[in-house]
């Protein structure tokens, strides 16, 4: 009981700490990891003994105002999936989230998938491994050189994920590279016209700024074939208030996204758009 209460209290302190952190570059990158590690260690302090260096668990017990459901409800049946590049770093989805996304892609039979925010391409390669045969993944990433010239404001904390020599390094050299098309640009300025009405599945995991999540989500609705398909978002968590605000607003005001759900125990939200 005491541990749970302290856990919750620490969780709140962490949230407050994270929101106070207002700048970053390499400091945030490592501090965020360290904060996650502390959160993971909080439970272990009561066990006392050592804990080996594990990847941060990112157990998300937090719930916002989006209706939530557990993973077993999200997936009507458990399909067979393939997973690769299982090792995760700061900026990736958790392995469970990756498995859920892969499963959603598989179950939906998606043939054309669009991703906002490639980062290292770990999600893209897993979507490629699990979409319908012959399927294609289009993934859009903001080039480092354009980070200071985006049409909409970025969240300062986004910059560390933008600052890399090239996106998608983890799908290069895999058997799925040929099914992935890397696009470069600012999602607020990019010309999506040839992709509109052609996608079955959209994953939004780019800038965490409210304005961008709103922008990317509205674009996503236009990308869907006949306005139908699945949209999924990452980072629906108290650490990223821009995402939370945008998703909760969209859920409340956009009729097509009334079915948006938070998948319990993860930072994923998704909606089946009919």
């Amino acid at each position: 009981m005491r541990e749970e209460r302290a856990d919750h209290h620490t969780g709140e302190l962490l949230a407050e700490a994270a929101s106070l952190l207002s700048a970053h570059t390499s400091v945030l990158n490592s501090v965020a990891l360290r904060l996650l590690a502390i959160e993971g260690r909080v439970a272990d302090l009561s066990a006392g003994a050592f804990r080996e260096q594990q990847a941060p668990r990112g157990n998300n017990r937090w719930r916002g105002s989006l209706p939530s459901e557990c993973g077993s409800k999200t997936l009507a049946s458990a399909p067979k999936i393939q997973l690769l590049a299982i090792h995760g770093v700061d900026g990736n989805t958790s392995l469970l989230e990756l498995a859920l996304l892969a499963s959603l892609a598989k179950l939906s039979g998606a043939r054309a998938l669009f991703e906002f925010g490639t980062f290292d391409g770990r999600t893209a390669v897993n979507l490629a491994a699990n979409c319908a045969p012959g399927g294609k993944i289009f993934t859009l990433d903001l080039p480092r050189a354009q980070a200071d010239a985006t049409l909409l404001p970025l969240d300062e904390r986004d910059k560390v994920y933008i600052d890399k020599p090239a996106p998608g390094l983890r799908y290069k050299g895999t058997p799925f590279e040929a099914s992935i098309m890397q696009l470069h640009g600012d999602s607020a300025a990019f010309d999506f016209s040839r992709f509109c009405g052609a996608m079955d599945f959209v994953f939004i995991d780019a800038s965490h700024k409210y304005e961008y999540v709103m922008n990317d989500s509205r674009v996503a609705l236009r990308l869907l074939r006949n306005g139908r398909g699945i949209i999924a978002w990452h980072d629906y968590t108290k650490w990223w208030d821009g995402v939370v605000r945008a998703l909760e607003e969209l859920h409340a005001t956009e009729p097509k996204l009334a079915g948006m759900r938070h998948i319990e125990g993860t930072d994923l939200a998704y909606a089946r758009v009919e």
Binding site: L13, A49, F50, A85
Partner: protein, 367 residues
């Protein structure tokens, strides 16, 4: 613009999180007039921007100008302490008032860091890591120390840590480690039956087990003590058509969710406790034994001995879970087996997981 404004504006910008604006303002204010206080604030913005080297220079300059600048001394001490430089940190904190709780905490941290650095054992390193994490929680009072204040988890951590200071020294893991990438490189995929309610660490372990199973071409698998079906489904799938997977699950009702697994004819559920189960009809017939059962030291030893007898011709693969702080009894047992049993001399601990596995290739001798 009046001189004092640059400094004030710089501090305000820092508070608002506009570090890119704060820095030139503070530099401007320093050019106009160098003061210890301004150096301290400049250094803090550097620290917030991730430039620890510059921050250190700034704090030292602040102290050069005014040795009585306690805030700069504390900040420097905290920076050095959290960079695992306890001796220098202590020097910086020297002479600061013993009345300040923060200073006393920093000093205690430094002493402990020193002790851990000189001890240089696994347990010491872990304490050091914990203390370094604790260092980041030391609260700062003053304005510009946004970063330090932001990391104030001190209350929660010390509350949790305090009753456990006297915990027995943890057991060091002695089994040689292998990197997960050596077993499952980034570019290789594993197939699994989708999982919905397993945490990411366990999922990662499952992927590794599947890979080990596949590489071993295991056809008959025995799982001792798993409490859910998710791993069984994926392992049976990896083993392929015509394979068999025996699950010995504890004698508890409602063990795990059997969704989908009942339709997999490869999976045979045996209900029982490994302590009393009669394994003899399975002796000499299994390719891969996976133990995820008891955390009790004696029981793990018992299960492991049984596992060796299960292996077909005494050859195959055995693996265990919970070689971690959650299973000190498992650590003890596996450490003992590693040291004393020649069949298990090949044990490897997969770094970053609680998995240990061993390829067994000798004839089983007398156990």
């Amino acid at each position: 613009m009046a001189e004092s404004n640059h400094h004030e504006l710089g501090v305000q910008a820092c508070r608002d999180g506009r570090l890119a604006d704060a820095l030139p303002l503070l530099e401007r204010s320093l050019l106009e007039r160098e003061t210890s206080e301004r150096w301290n604030d400049w250094a803090t913005v550097q620290l917030l921007s991730g430039r620890q080297g510059e921050a250190e220079v700034g704090y030292r300059r602040a102290l050069q100008m005014d040795a009585g600048n306690t805030e700069a001394a504390e900040n420097l001490g905290a920076l050095l302490a959290s960079s695992a430089r306890p001796l220098e940190a202590l020097r910086s904190l020297d002479g600061l008032s013993k009345q300040s709780q923060r200073v006393e905490q920093l000093r205690a941290l430094c002493r402990e860091t020193l002790a851990a650095q000189t001890a240089s054992d696994a347990a010491g390193n872990e304490r050091l890591q914990r203390r370094l994490a604790h260092a980041m929680t030391i609260q700062a009072g003053a304005t510009a120390n946004l970063w330090l204040r932001a990391l104030a988890l001190e209350n929660a951590l010390s509350y949790l840590a305090a009753p456990h200071e006297s915990a027995a020294a943890p057991l060091p893991p002695i089994i040689p480690t292998i990197h997960a990438d050596e077993i499952l490189p980034d570019s290789e995929a594993v197939e699994l039956m989708a999982v919905v309610s397993i945490d990411s660490a366990a999922l990662r372990e499952l992927c590794l087990l599947i890979q080990i199973c596949r590489k071993q071409k295991a056809r008959r698998i025995f799982e001792i003590g798993p409490t859910d079906w998710q791993s069984a489904r994926s392992l049976a799938h990896a083993a392929g058509d015509g394979s068999e997977l025996f699950m010995l699950t504890p004698n508890r009702p409602g063990t795990g969710s059997a969704r989908g697994a009942q339709s997999d004819h490869r999976i045979v559920q045996l209900v029982g406790d490994s302590a009393s189960f009669d394994f003899s009809s399975f002796f000499n017939s299994i390719d891969f034994v996976f133990m995820d059962a008891s955390h009790d030291h004696e029981q793990v030893l018992h299960d492991s001995r049984a596992a060796l007898r299960l292996l077909r011709g005494g050859k195959g693969m055995v693996a265990w879970r919970n070689y971690s702080s959650e299973g000190p009894g498992v650590i003890r047992a596996l450490n003992e087996l590693f040291v004393s049993d020649p069949h298990l001399a090949d044990m490897k601990h997969i770094e970053g997981t609680s998995l240990v596995y061993a390829k067994v290739s000798h004839e089983p001798g007398d156990n």
